[in-house]
C-alpha cells in the first residue's frame, strides 16, 4: 500500500524480501492446513484469472460499441445485459454500469475503500489501482492523477470520478480515436488499453494506422 508496488513484487530491498518470505510461508502453511481439513481441493486452485479473464474482454466490448451504434446504445442503457451478450459475466461484474468519454466529459473509476473492479471485463486490478496513492488522490485531485498517466485535459472538460462504493462496477467507454475509420472491430480491440477503460488514459492510434 504505502510502499506502492515495491512490497508486492519486492525488487531490491532486503527487509521487503524478508517480509515477503514470511508471507509466503504463512500462505503455504494456511494452504496445507485447509487442504488437510478437507476444506480446499488443491485441484481447484486454478489460474482462471490469468488464462480466461482479462482486459481483452473489455476491449472487445469497447470495439463493438465503437462499430455498432445499436450495441453502444444498449451498453450505455443496460451495461450488464450488453456485456453478457458477448459472454462476459460473473463475479464482480454482476451489475455493470458503462460511462462514456466524449470531447466534453472524461470519466475516471476508483474504489477509495478497497479494490472494487469489474473482473469479467478487466480481470484483476493492477497494483496501482489498489494502492494508497491512487485511492486517496483520484477523488480530490483527479487531474493531477491523470497527468501522472500522461493524460492532459483542457479546463473546459468535465471530469467525473466514479467511486465504486456499492456493488455497481464501472467500465469507461473511451473515445474512439480519429483516423482509424478503416479499422475493423477486431483491429480496434487490439488498441484499447486496460488503462483507457479505467479512465486514466485515452486510446491512441498506433503510428502505422494513423498514417494509413
Amino acid at each position: 500500500m504505502s510502499e506502492g508496488r515495491g512490497n508486492e513484487h519486492g525488487h531490491g530491498h532486503d527487509h521487503d524480501q524478508d517480509r515477503l518470505s514470511d508471507t509466503e510461508l504463512r500462505v503455504r502453511a494456511l494452504e496445507s492446513l485447509l487442504v488437510d481439513k478437507g476444506m480446499v481441493d488443491p485441484a481447484a486452485l486454478v489460474e482462471t484469472y490469468e488464462t480466461k479473464v482479462g482486459p481483452r474482454n473489455g476491449a472487445r466490448v469497447v470495439a463493438r460499441a465503437w462499430t455498432d451504434p445499436d450495441y453502444k446504445d444498449w451498453l450505455l442503457r443496460d451495461g450488464s445485459a450488453a456485456i453478457a451478450d458477448l459472454g462476459y459475466h460473473g463475479r464482480q461484474g454482476e451489475n455493470m454500469y458503462v460511462v462514456e468519454n466524449t470531447a466534453e466529459v472524461h470519466n475516471l473509476v476508483v474504489c477509495t475503500l478497497c479494490s472494487c473492479y469489474p473482473w469479467p471485463v478487466l480481470g484483476l486490478p493492477p497494483v496501482w489501482y489498489k494502492s494508497a496513492p491512487y485511492r486517496s488522490r483520484a477523488v480530490i485531485d483527479p487531474r493531477g492523477v491523470l497527468r501522472e498517466f500522461g493524460t492532459e485535459l483542457a479546463d473546459d472538460v468535465e471530469v467525473r470520478v466514479w467511486d465504486s462504493t456499492a456493488e455497481l462496477r464501472y467500465l469507461v467507454l473511451p473515445e474512439r480515436p480519429a483516423g482509424g475509420e478503416h479499422m475493423t472491430a477486431e483491429e480496434l480491440a487490439t488498441i484499447v488499453t486496460r488503462n483507457s477503460m479505467i479512465g486514466v488514459e485515452k486510446v491512441a492510434l498506433p503510428a502505422r494506422e494513423a498514417a494509413a
Binding site: 500500500m1 504505502s2 510502499e3 506502492g4 508496488r5 512490497n7 508486492e8 513484487h9 508471507t23 500462505v27 503455504r28 494456511l30 494452504e31 496445507s32 492446513l33 485447509l34 488437510d36 481439513k37 478437507g38 476444506m39 480446499v40 481441493d41 481447484a44 486452485l45 486454478v46 482462471t48 490469468e50 460473473g90 463475479r91 464482480q92 454482476e94 451489475n95 476508483v110 477509495t112 475503500l113 478497497c114 484483476l124 493492477p126 497494483v127 496501482w128 496513492p133 491512487y134 485511492r135 486517496s136 477523488v139 480530490i140 492523477v145 498517466f149 479546463d155 473546459d156 468535465e158 471530469v159 467525473r160 470520478v161 467511486d163 462504493t165 456499492a166 456493488e167 455497481l168 488503462n195
Partner: protein, 224 residues
C-alpha cells in the same frame, strides 16, 4: 469504521508510479495467486459474505493495514474470518496442524476444479427482489448522514455531511453496512448514484466543472 482503508482525499502517499500496463503480470508472486485462490475456495463454505470479508480486511490496526501489500491484507482477512466463523481454531492457525476435518455438510460445499468456472461465472446476489419503497427520486438533493459507526460502512468519510444530487436509482440491493454484521442480515434498500460537485467536497479551490459520484444506500442519506 474510520479506518486506514477509507483513503479518499488523504494526502501524503506520494506519486502513483504505475507499472507499465504491458509489463505488469496478474500476480507478482506465486503466494498472491495462492491467497486469491484460497479466498475463493474458503468463501465457498458459505460462512461469510463479501461485506464481512471487507470488514475483516479493513479492521486491521491502521499501521498494519498501511504497511501490508493488498494481498497481504487478503491473507490477514482470511485468517481472521476462518477463526471468527469457527472453520479453523486459534490453535490450528498458530500450529498449522489440522485438529479434525470439517463437518460433512461443509464437505459437500468444497469447490472442485470443475465447479470453479460455473461458480465464478454465476457471481453473487447483491440485488434483492423485495419491493421496498425508494426514499428518494432522481433529481432530489440529499445529504449524507454525518455518522461515524465503529462497524463497517460503505459511506466514505469524504462524503459524510455533504450534499449531492441523486443521479440514478440503481434498484434494491442488500445493505452492505448491515450485511457485514454476519449472515442473515440481508436488509433490502435502494442504492443511488449520488453526484457531488468537487467544490462541495473539496472547497472553492477545486474545479467548478468536476464532480464525484458515489453509490449510497437509503440508510446513508437524508433529505437536504
Amino acid at each position: 469504521m474510520n479506518g486506514a482503508h477509507d483513503m479518499g482525499g488523504m494526502h501524503g502517499f506520494g506519486p502513483i508510479d504505475p507499472e507499465p500496463e504491458a509489463e505488469e503480470p496478474v500476480f507478482h508472486h506465486d503466494w498472491e495467486r495462492r491467497i486469491m485462490a484460497l479466498n475463493l475456495a474458503a468463501g465457498a463454505m458459505g460462512r461469510w459474505n463479501i461485506d464481512m470479508s471487507r470488514f475483516a480486511r479493513e479492521s486491521q490496526p491502521p499501521v498494519q493495514y498501511l504497511s501490508n501489500s493488498y494481498y497481504q491484507t487478503w491473507l490477514a482477512g482470511l485468517e481472521k474470518l476462518l477463526v471468527q466463523t469457527g472453520l479453523v481454531s486459534e490453535s490450528e492457525l498458530s500450529s498449522c496442524r489440522s485438529e479434525g476435518q470439517i463437518a460433512e455438510d461443509l464437505a459437500e460445499r468444497v469447490l472442485t476444479a470443475e465447479q470453479v468456472p460455473t461458480t465464478l461465472g454465476r457471481g453473487d446476489s447483491f440485488r434483492m427482489d423485495d419491493e421496498v419503497p425508494a426514499k428518494f427520486e432522481v433529481g432530489d438533493t440529499v445529504r449524507v448522514k454525518n455518522r461515524h459507526p465503529d462497524h463497517h460502512t460503505r459511506a466514505p468519510r469524504y462524503v459524510r455531511g455533504h450534499v449531492g444530487v441523486v443521479d440514478r436509482d440503481h434498484g434494491v440491493f442488500v445493505f452492505a453496512d448491515e450485511n457485514a454484521k454476519g449472515m442473515g442480515n440481508r436488509v433490502p434498500q435502494h442504492v443511488y448514484g449520488v453526484r457531488f460537485s468537487a467544490r462541495e467536497l473539496w472547497g472553492p479551490e477545486a474545479s467548478a466543472r468536476d464532480c464525484v459520484y458515489a453509490d449510497l444506500w437509503d440508510g446513508h442519506l437524508e433529505p437536504a
